[in-house]
C-alpha cells in the first residue's frame, strides 16, 4: 500500500512536470509523454507482474489529473503493462539499445493514439515523427545515466 501511494505521488509530480514543459516542447513539434514513460519504466523494473486492475486504475488516475478523456490512458496503460509482462523475460536477451527503441516507439504510439482522440482536427505526422525520435533519444539518455550512475529512482516493489 505504501508503495502504491509512493507511485501515485510520483506520477502526480511527473504529470505536473509533463504539463509544465509541454507548452514549450510543442513549439518544436514534440509531445513528450513523461508520465507514460515513467509508468512503463515502473512496470519494466518491477520484480513481479503488475496486476491489470492496478494498471487500469493508474491509467484512470492519469486521465483525471491530466484532464483528458476517461479511459484513454487506462487502455494504453493496460496494453503497455500486458506487453511488458509478456516480454519481461525476453527483454533480458535484448540489448539496451533495442529496449530503448521499444520504449521510444511505445511512447510514440501513445502520442499517436492520444492525438487521434484529443487532437484529431490538427493531427500532425511531423509531430508524431519528431516525438518518436525525441522519445527514443530520451530513453537512450536515461539508459546511459542508469548504466553509469545506477538506478535514478528506486521504485522496485
Amino acid at each position: 500500500m505504501k508503495n502504491y501511494i509512493k507511485v501515485i505521488f510520483i506520477i502526480a509530480i511527473i504529470n505536473f512536470i509533463e504539463l509544465s514543459i509541454s507548452n514549450a516542447l510543442s513549439k518544436a513539434y514534440i509531445i513528450f509523454p513523461l508520465t507514460f514513460l515513467f509508468y512503463s519504466y515502473y512496470v519494466y523494473k518491477s520484480d513481479e507482474n503488475i496486476n491489470p486492475i492496478e494498471a487500469f486504475l493508474f491509467g484512470l488516475f492519469v486521465d483525471l489529473i491530466s484532464n483528458s478523456y476517461f479511459g484513454l490512458s487506462a487502455i494504453l496503460f493496460c496494453l503497455m503493462t500486458y506487453l511488458i509482462n509478456i516480454y519481461s523475460n525476453s527483454f533480458k536477451l535484448f540489448s539496451n539499445l533495442q529496449i530503448c527503441i521499444f520504449f521510444g516507439l511505445s511512447a510514440a504510439s501513445y502520442v499517436g493514439f492520444t492525438q487521434l482522440i484529443v487532437n484529431l482536427y490538427n493531427f500532425s505526422y511531423l509531430t508524431l515523427l519528431v516525438s518518436a525520435v525525441f522519445n527514443i533519444f530520451f530513453c537512450i539518455f536515461i539508459a546511459l545515466i542508469s548504466m553509469y550512475s545506477g538506478n535514478l529512482i528506486n521504485i522496485r516493489k
Binding site: F70, A74, I86, Y121
Partner: protein
C-alpha cells in the same frame, strides 16, 4: 526474480479492462456523464492551489511587502489594475463596434424591445491551461463570478476587453466556458454585406475559427481581410458583434472551400470577463 508470462485468466482480465476502458472512453467523448467528476476535481485542484498558496507563498510575499513598506502601494496598484481591466470590459460593452448597447437611449430601446432586463456580471479567470491551444481540440476555461447570481448563466456569452470569447456550458462552483476555438463549438457568422452566412467551427488552434462552404451553392467571392460578424442565428450570441477577419482561403475540393478566420478576441488578454445572458 523471473517474471512469468500472464496466465490465460489474467489475459482475459486485460481484455475485459481494455474493452471497459474503450466503453468509458466512448461514453466520455459522446456524453457529459463524467463532467461532474472532472469539474469536482478541477474545483478541488483550484481550491487546493489557492489554499496552499494563501498559506505558503502569500504570507512570505506579504511579509516581504510589509518589510519593504510597499504593501499599501501594491494593494492600490492591484485595485487600480482591476479597475482598469473592469473599465476595459465595460468599454468594450459600450463601444461602437459592439451591438450590445450603443448608448443609454439605445440600451433603453433594447431593454424594451428584447426584454433585456438582466444585468451583466463581472467574472474572474480561475483556471486556464495554455497547453490546450497547442495540443487539444477541447478549449475550455473556468471562471468565477465576482457578484452572486441567482439565475442560471448556462449559454451566457462571455467577453473580455478584446471581444467575445465563448459561452458558458456548465456551472458548478466555477463556470466552464467553451471557447470559440473549441472544435465542438459552432458559431453562426455572416459577412458585413450580409450576403454570406455560415456556421464557423473552432479550429482547435488559438485565434482561429474555420468556416466551410460549398462554392456551388454560395457563389459569393471572398476576399482576404474581410470582416465577419455574428449573425445572431444561434440564439446564444447577439447579432452584429465583430468576430474577426478572413485570413486564409483554402480550396479543399470543388465542393468545399475552407475559410480561416482570425479572431479579434483573445481569452489570454485579461483575467476579467463580462458575462451576459440573452
Amino acid at each position: 526474480m523471473t517474471r512469468i508470462s500472464p496466465p490465460p485468466g489474467q489475459k482475459i482480465i486485460y481484455l475485459f479492462l481494455i474493452f471497459l476502458g474503450g466503453f468509458i472512453l466512448y461514453v466520455d467523448i459522446n456524453t457529459n456523464n463524467f463532467q461532474i467528476i472532472k469539474n469536482g476535481f478541477n474545483s478541488f485542484q483550484i481550491s487546493t492551489h489557492f489554499f496552499i498558496k494563501s498559506f505558503s507563498i502569500d504570507p512570505i510575499m506579504d511579509f516581504k511587502n510589509h518589510f519593504q513598506f510597499k504593501n499599501k502601494l501594491i494593494k492600490e496598484n492591484k485595485e487600480l489594475h482591476t479597475a482598469l481591466e473592469k473599465s476595459y470590459v465595460e468599454k468594450y460593452l459600450i463601444s461602437q463596434d459592439s451591438k450590445f448597447f450603443k448608448d443609454k437611449k439605445f440600451l433603453e430601446e433594447e431593454l424594451d424591445q428584447n426584454n433585456l432586463n438582466k444585468p451583466f456580471y463581472m467574472a474572474q479567470l480561475k483556471n486556464l491551461d495554455p497547453n490546450i491551444f497547442n495540443c487539444c481540440d477541447k478549449h475550455r476555461i473556468h471562471i468565477q463570478l465576482l457578484t452572486k447570481s441567482n439565475e442560471s448563466l448556462i449559454e451566457g456569452v462571455v467577453f473580455n476587453s478584446s471581444g467575445v470569447i465563448g459561452h458558458i456550458i456548465h456551472e458548478m462552483n466555477y463556470k466552464e466556458v467553451m471557447l470559440l476555438t473549441d472544435v465542438s463549438h459552432s458559431l453562426p457568422i455572416k459577412n458585413v454585406s450580409e450576403d454570406f452566412y455560415c456556421n464557423a467551427r473552432g479550429s482547435g488552434m488559438s485565434d482561429y475559427i474555420i468556416c466551410n462552404y460549398n462554392p456551388l451553392i454560395s457563389i459569393k467571392e471572398m476576399e482576404i481581410g474581410q470582416n465577419f460578424l455574428t449573425s445572431g442565428f444561434g440564439g446564444i450570441y447577439p447579432k452584429d458583434i465583430k468576430i474577426g477577419i478572413l485570413e486564409d482561403i483554402k480550396v479543399i475540393d470543388s465542393n468545399n472551400i475552407e475559410l480561416n478566420i482570425k479572431l479579434s478576441s483573445n481569452p489570454l488578454d485579461s483575467i476579467l470577463f463580462g458575462v451576459i445572458n440573452f
